[in-house]
Each structure stands twice: as C-alpha cells, then as structure tokens.
Subunit: 339 residues, 2 copies
Amino acid sequence: MKKKTTGHTTIKDVAEYAGVSKSTVSRYINGKIDAISPEKVKNIKKAIAELNYRPSKMAQGLKIKKSKLIGFVVADITNPFSVAAFRGVEEVCDQYGYSIMVCNTDNSPEKEREMLLKLEAHSVEGLILNATGENKDVLHAFAEQQIPTILIDRKLPDLKLDTVTTDNRRITKEILQKIYSKGYTDVALFTEPISSISPRAERAAVYQEMASAQNANGLVRMYEIDVKNKEKLKVALRSFHKEMPEQKKAILALNGLIMLKIISCMEELGLRIPQDIGIAGFDDTEWYKLIGSGITTIAQPSHDMGRTAMERVLKRIEGDKGAPQTIELEAEVIMRQSL
Amino acid sequence: MKKKTTGHTTIKDVAEYAGVSKSTVSRYINGKIDAISPEKVKNIKKAIAELNYRPSKMAQGLKIKKSKLIGFVVADITNPFSVAAFRGVEEVCDQYGYSIMVCNTDNSPEKEREMLLKLEAHSVEGLILNATGENKDVLHAFAEQQIPTILIDRKLPDLKLDTVTTDNRRITKEILQKIYSKGYTDVALFTEPISSISPRAERAAVYQEMASAQNANGLVRMYEIDVKNKEKLKVALRSFHKEMPEQKKAILALNGLIMLKIISCMEELGLRIPQDIGIAGFDDTEWYKLIGSGITTIAQPSHDMGRTAMERVLKRIEGDKGAPQTIELEAEVIMRQSL
DNA sequence: CTGTTAGCGCCTTCAC
DNA sequence: GTGAAGGCGCTAACAG
C-alpha cells in the first residue's frame, strides 16, 4: 500500500490503495457516490488525494468517445479579433470543462488543412473556424463524423454550417453614410485581397453600391493591397491623394491590419489626418483612441462572437439537430476625430 | 467491403477493407513500409484514402504514452507578448506534429491551478508556463511525472525548472541610463502590483538602485497601480507632475498595459509627451511608433522566447536529463520621441 | 513478411 | 453495494 513516487497514477493504483475494485473507483470518479458505501467513499477519496490521482482523459475519451477538446482555428492570431474571440470561447469552455486547441493558419489553406486533420485525429468534440475558404472536403469529413463545426466571422456559403458573424452590410452602410454626410465626396476603399472571404466581399459590395451613387463622378476607388508591400501601398495612397484634388477625400480601411499600415504610410508621406485624407475603418483597439485625435472605426463584438460560437457548439454536442443557423451580431460605429 | 458513410473509421475497418490484419495497417501507419509486401502497401493506401481514415491520437496515445499535446499557459492572452510567444511555440510544434492547448489564467492562481490540472489530465507531453507564482505543488506533480515544464518570462526561483527570459536587469539599466543622460532628474516608475512576479521585481529593483543614486534628492518614486482603476492612476500622475515642478520629469512604465493606461490618462489630463513628462516603457507594438511622435520602449524577443521554450521542451521530451537551465534572451531599446 | 495476442486506462453491463 | 469481464482503437512482441 505504499505510495508510488514516480510515473502516472492509474485507477488500478487507487483501487488497490483503497482496497476496492476499479469499478468502484470509476463509480466514484463519475459521481455515483450514493451507490457506494460511505466507508469506501472515504477510502477512495483518501487514496485519490494521497496518490494524486487524475483520471486520464485519453483513456476516458477512448472509452466514452468524448475528448473534452475543442478546436479553435483562426486565420490570424495576431489579429485582436482572434484574441477577443478566443476569450469568449474560453469562458464557456472553462465552465463546461472543455479545453481548447488553438491553431493559427496564417490565412494559408494548406496550413488550415493540416490543422483540421490534426484536430480530427485528436477527436475534438467541436470546431470553431475562422475559415480561409478552402478545404471543404475536410469540413465535410467533420460533418460526416457529426463533429459540430461553427464558422466565425467568415461564412462559407455552400456549406450549410452554423455561423456567427457581424451584420457587415448594415454597418458598412452606416459608416459610409456618416462619411458622406460629413461632406466627403471622394471615398476610397483600401482592402486586403478579397478573394472569397465573406466579410470583405460584403463590405466591398456595399462600398461599391454607395460609392458609385455618391462619389464625385460616381467613381468607385477600390485599392487591393498586399499589406506586406508598403511601397505599393504608398503609391496607391499618393495617387489617390493627387487625383481630383478638389474633392474632399476619405478612406475606408477594410480591416484593422490595413488601417495600421495606412496610418503608418500616411505619416511617412506627410499626409495629415483628417485634413488631407479622412480615415475610418473596421476593428477597434484601445490604441485607436490614442492615434492623433482618435480613429473613427467599427467595433465588432468579437468577444461575444466567440461566446456565441462556443455556445452553439455546446448545443450541437448536446444533440441539437436543428437546421444550421446564421447568427448576426451587431457591430457599432465609434466616431472619433479622424473624419 | 463497402464504405461506411458515418461515424469514425478505425484501423479495423481499414484492415478489413484492405484484406490484411490490423497489425499490418499499424505498421503502415508507422512508416514501416518496407516491411510490408508492396501489394499490401498499395491496398492499405487505397483503403485509407477511400475510407478517409485518420488514426486516433487518443488510442495511439493511450498505448504509446505520447499525446502529442503541449500545454501553453499564459497569464494574459491579451498581452501581445503572449501572442508573439505563441507563434514561436507554434512554429516548432507544427514542425514536430505537436498541437497546442492554450490556457489563459488572467493572472489568477486559482484559474492557473485548474488549467494545470486539466492539462495534466489530458496527458500533455510538455508545458510552457507564464506563471502566476503559485501552484508549486501542481508543478511538482508535473515534475514527478517527468513532464517537462519550461517557464517563460517569469521565473520561479525555488523551483529549478528550465526558464526562458529576458535580461531584465541589464536592459532596465540601459534604458534608465538613456533617460538620465537626456537630462531627466525626476524619474518615476509606474507598475502593476509587483507581488512575486520576477521580471517586475527585477526591473523595479534596478530602478530603485538607479533612482536613489540619480534622481534629484535621491527620491525613489514607485507607483503601484491597479490598471483597472483609472482614477487612481490619474491622481498618481497628477501628483507626480505637480511635485518638484522644477525637475525634468520622466516615467518608466513597467509593461505595455500600464503604458497604454498612462498615455490614455495623460491625454485626458492634458499632459503633453514629452514636454510635461517624458515616457518610456517595456513591450513594443506596431502602434507605438504611431502614438504622438513615437514611444520609446524596450522590445522583447517574445517570438524567439516562444521558439526557444518549445525547443527546450522538445529536448526534454527527447530525453535530455541535464540540469535545468535559464536562458536569457536579449531585449533591445528602441528610441523614439517620447523622451 | 504477417497474423495472433495481450494490454494501455478507463467505463459499463452483468451477475452476485 | 460491488467485482469480474469485455472492449474502446491502437501498438508491440511473439510466433510462424
């Protein structure tokens, strides 16, 4: 009956130490306490404490087919959105005893594929995915194995999956209206490549409609920029500033990353905000209010999106077989002085 | 021999479909291909592809005692340091087929304890920990089970564990020298509660030495601030600014979070940087160069710290039994215009 | 080269 | 109330 001092303690050790069978220990672990005689309960409790026993999730999982693992796959962990969403996911995971495997795809479909396969191999019970737009086949495999998958932020139209996003169209319209109502007559959109990323596409579409109706001469000015290429961004910025100098100019930055690059380049070019060009964008950071006199932006409920997504996962795990639903959370325009 | 269309495919399914035994499939999975007749190899490959088979890590893990899981526990996922370090960890994890369970403790020892126990239950093969300073007993349990644990950023003096940090003393000294050499005569330290967090303690200690030697009247001015309490911070800021107005004043912010709060409060108080008070701090963000004319700061090699920590974990997993080592990476002062 | 056997740590009938 | 037995999906000798 002496304590082992090394290696992992198993249910067998506990059983022997407590002088009962493995079954009884198992019952104890699983809370069937009032089906065990009080004395044995006491012994088992003591054994567990002294042996420092922790039931192996792997063994439990193998048996009952529940890993207590959730996969959280983000396109860019560097994006504050990802971190905020993570915290939301985490809150509800903690509450229900789930752990989170975090994967970062860097917007690379290949990396995403690897991560998804890895998560599948690890038997995650649910998946929260900020998708690149590819790997439909793997997602299909998840569906076949009944592993609930929730899309976050980015929709995948042809894949009938639960989705949590923002009301991109409405909010984009709202901010553009505010821009135009401030007298801007030449509004440009700066964006990372849209490819098939739904929020980008939706925002761009609304911009196109509104710009062609309200920009001077109906000119739609969309600049697709590779954020790694600062020089090209500067060229774009300079050319936008130079053309039609008599118009009052503003830029709508399609996400936080490109906003950062724009501000940085404008500074280097000696372009003033908002005197030379007004700016507004998506995503909010605490830093925004400290840049110049504050950056006007759209704050997404990132944290809530994470929470909501994980709550959906939970519902599915609990057996909800309802039709996939798309949940749109409300974003909010925060007016500061950059317009 | 027909394909199952639902549920998880197991090694048994593959074996039957390919007309071989489970052992042979197992051999295939584990790369012992030249110990199998070419024809069977072909059949197995085909079966795996058609059945969409992915070996269960849980079952493998149970058998060979390798979960391919790494626990990454950070005190504050919101801190850019955590994200940068994560990416470093991730890089090497990807390379070696490990997955990462990310846990956020919010600097709460209780939450940390829960997370650690959870990770232990999941049989992580290694642990990278940005510690709160408590839970030595659980860490002890990890050691007993030979689960390599690497401390990152924050040391735990009485625990002889591998540790990856920054040369806090040297770099703090360097930046303070730069501050004093710019003619500042009244330098204050603003910090979150130091408690027993090693980088904070080390930075504060160096500050105390240098301030008592070089501040006017040898005055050491340390303000311990709860970052949640903006009012108290403002009071501190105002009082620091008012006392001895004839001295040239600067603040050293002990980390990025408190820096953010300081800048924000100074703005609200109408205090100008650096005319009224010069500032410098720790941690770097891309935003720093855009605030005013740029914030002078210390950039930590966060990403490398993550990489290095994970590399250490790997060495330990591979059997390195050497004495625990403390690896100090070099930080760097980035001078901008806030001083 | 390949199949049979015996577990890994745990849970779950099924008898007692 | 309790233990013995079987099996989750996989690997690792051990015989052929």
